[in-house]
Symmetry: D2
Subunit: 255 residues, 4 copies
């Protein structure tokens, strides 16, 4: 049994630092690296790639809408062609910089609003999948289970990885519980460990009302800007390893 | 006998168009494509690459200081590491987008102020050469003859191409005549044709005072924003071909 | 009888030029000047203000979503507070630069996607109106007749100006005919002149199916990037003046 | 006896935070607020202005070269006209946003590389002074004693404030000791207090070799990104107040 453990990294910019990349990296099997459009100037990208290399962590591109001021979290109504071009540009930049460090890009995970929009809008998801497939049809596309993003990846012939969030609660209908509601975020490390094991071993997750939902997990995400995330990442890694579960990048093809 | 004929293309941005790419492309053997930092958003880059492909023109990256408002023409005092990272990012983006069109990047030519600074500042030139060599040591680095840029390229083990400008006058000491002085720009097509033949066949150029200067030319540049440049490019191509000179991308290694 | 004739100007950026400001300006009574977020760097803004001053044309701010690459034409899902802050920043910048030329800002007209979104989304419209009222409650807010933008302006105590487009066809329900449909753009100058007179004198417009719709017009817009717009603006001005209609900036309060 | 105590604030951007504005503000008499070109988006500017207002701290604009990625610390070779326009734009934006909070802009202090270049380059200093005088000839221009910036301000008819740094050592020739040399930064709070009192009361400063240099101080700067700066600012304020020195914004005219 195996699962990937990923985090969004390289989200500093110029003098501004964000996240705890040095502390989180050792716990991960995959790092999604910002490409300069929501965060991550060229110097930050390079340092992040070197850090991933030092810890033998697999790297992926984390492309975004072009919105530094909004950190890529604000949906933008771009034409599909514009999205395809933007994703291709960002994946290319990341892949080339990775190659210069002797690393091969392994996956692509859209960031923030682009991820959320692509999860439910097939046109946007298809544009992203086209860009990835055009660049390298061996790249694994990350997306939420049962999302348009995963469907678009499969249709484009890409390997895909279904991603869940270790510390987020689910509604009975399978959606993530809104952050504006109580109980949306799970903070107890033991509970998080139990949930992760249940998702990986039993392919289920327990919703807020106790309902048991089916879920297929290829990669578990911890958010780089969650407080205490280094401890959270270490806890998940240790918990999974104790159960004999291998923490490793998704091995395509997944589906 | 052979020489390359290149032009800076893809310098539109969003709704703003610049240059006459469609008309110039058929005359060229190489196109230097803006990478998004002084001009050229992802959509413009892609259209430019498709156009180059359609005309079987070799493509290169045209990286710049990060300065859209100044079109990369204003020197910026960046640390060498920052320059190395910026060039690596831009070359990577261009190369990946070219690969997606089935094209292999052939050369790198710094743009505007970055080109001018690197021509005379060896530290900046070395930073650029390091980035190019790190990405692909087979890429040809373009620069003025006898410049720091060419020296840095050679030292980094890169093939290089010595570039001259078809329509610019030279001072007796070998420098380009300043645009603020009379006679800096040569506009008569016959004169330009004669000069180009002299440079390619005799390896000399006649300065403004009549002095005959030695010059070694691997590539001839026409500026995309010069008025009448499509006619100029066609004239140079025709003139050279009539003399039996092959117009083709620089074949590394040059030196 | 009087009406304002306005155009979006100052939409060049750095080396890139757009529009025909020099030719259009003499025909206008108001100019809406780009503020740097979709177009218009500080140098362009200043030249545009000087040009307006030379022709005694009233100036307004033309704030936008922050999207140079998309020319402010792509809706962005910004929080109302972010919109209020962005509009306040842009109006402030324009007003201060106008004051430095001895001009007093007279109006605010949101640009592109911000205009379209605010026309139908009261929350966005209120955010814009708050910013304008906070800066100067004497500024006239431009918007489509019967839009959320006009309603928000009135609610915020601002003078408003209801804007129509001289060369666009209307559907029977009062909306602008989509540019993707035939007949959306009216190109015949005589027809445009007739329509403008009808709108100003009779307060009606004839829809594509012949229906006569009521419309109240305070300002007529010609688009700076429409081909032939200098002639169009001159034609409208001449046509109106021949009927004895005064072309002048909206005189607040309008409603 | 009186002196101003100022700090650069509002240097966060989007999700990225920098500095300790909340803790420093209560100790200051003046705040120099980033204008969006090196830091400080519109939301950050507004929060900073509200904070200054709450603590009755005088506000000024802190304009910069347009360089978010480099935090305005990298000199750019801009034409004087471009600098004048950029400063005018940024001062206008800040002044308008301040007015919306009921505040009147009191000073202008160029940021980072623009400050350093203007200190020794009279052409750049004159461009800045022209922009400030054009906007409001009552604004106080901050600059180092005996600098081109102060000279340009005086020549332009502006009130000026000569600025020193509380925690930096001086060479015998009056220049700031380079940060790359030992002893450049003074960290002992008692020493800093003594130096500040000496500068304000005796108009002298002791250089690293013991030489006593004359210095005229109108405003003392603490850097917002120095570690421990809130304690430093409080210490300076307390030390000065104990000596009966009034901490207040510079009262123009200074010279």
């Amino acid at each position: 049994m195996r699962v990937d453990l990923n985090c969004d990294l390289g989200e500093s910019y110029g003098v501004w630092t964000l996240g705890h990349d040095d502390e989180i990296m050792p716990s991960l099997s995959s790092a999604s690296v910002a490409c300069g459009f929501h965060a991550g100037d060229a110097g930050v990208i390079r340092r992040t790639l070197k850090l991933a290399k030092a810890h033998r962590v697999s790297v992926g591109a984390h492309p975004s809408f072009p919105d530094l001021a909004g950190f890529g979290r604000r949906p933008m109504a771009l034409e599909p062609e514009a999205i395809e071009d933007l994703v291709l540009y960002q994946v290319s930049a990341l892949a080339g910089m990775a190659a210069a460090e002797g690393l091969r890009l392994a996956h692509v995970k859209p960031h923030g609003a682009l991820y959320n929009v692509a999860a439910r809008d097939r046109t946007v998801a298809d544009a992203i999948a086209r860009a990835v497939a055009l660049f390298d049809a061996g790249l694994v596309l990350f997306g939420p289970p049962d999302s348009c993003l995963i469907a678009a990846g499969v249709a484009a012939g890409l390997p895909v990885a279904r991603e869940v969030f270790a510390d987020r609660a689910y509604e009975p209908d399978g959606r993530l519980r809104s952050r504006s509601l109580p109980g949306a975020l799970i903070v107890d490390l033991t509970s998080i460990g139990d949930r992760v094991i249940q998702m990986v071993e039993e392919h289920t997750v327990t919703a807020v009302d106790g309902t048991c939902l089916p879920v297929h997990v290829d990669t578990i995400c911890v958010h780089g800007d969650t407080p205490g995330v280094p401890a959270l990442a270490r806890c998940i890694r240790t918990t999974l390893e104790k159960r004999g579960i291998l923490i490793a990048p998704p091995s395509p093809p997944q589906l």
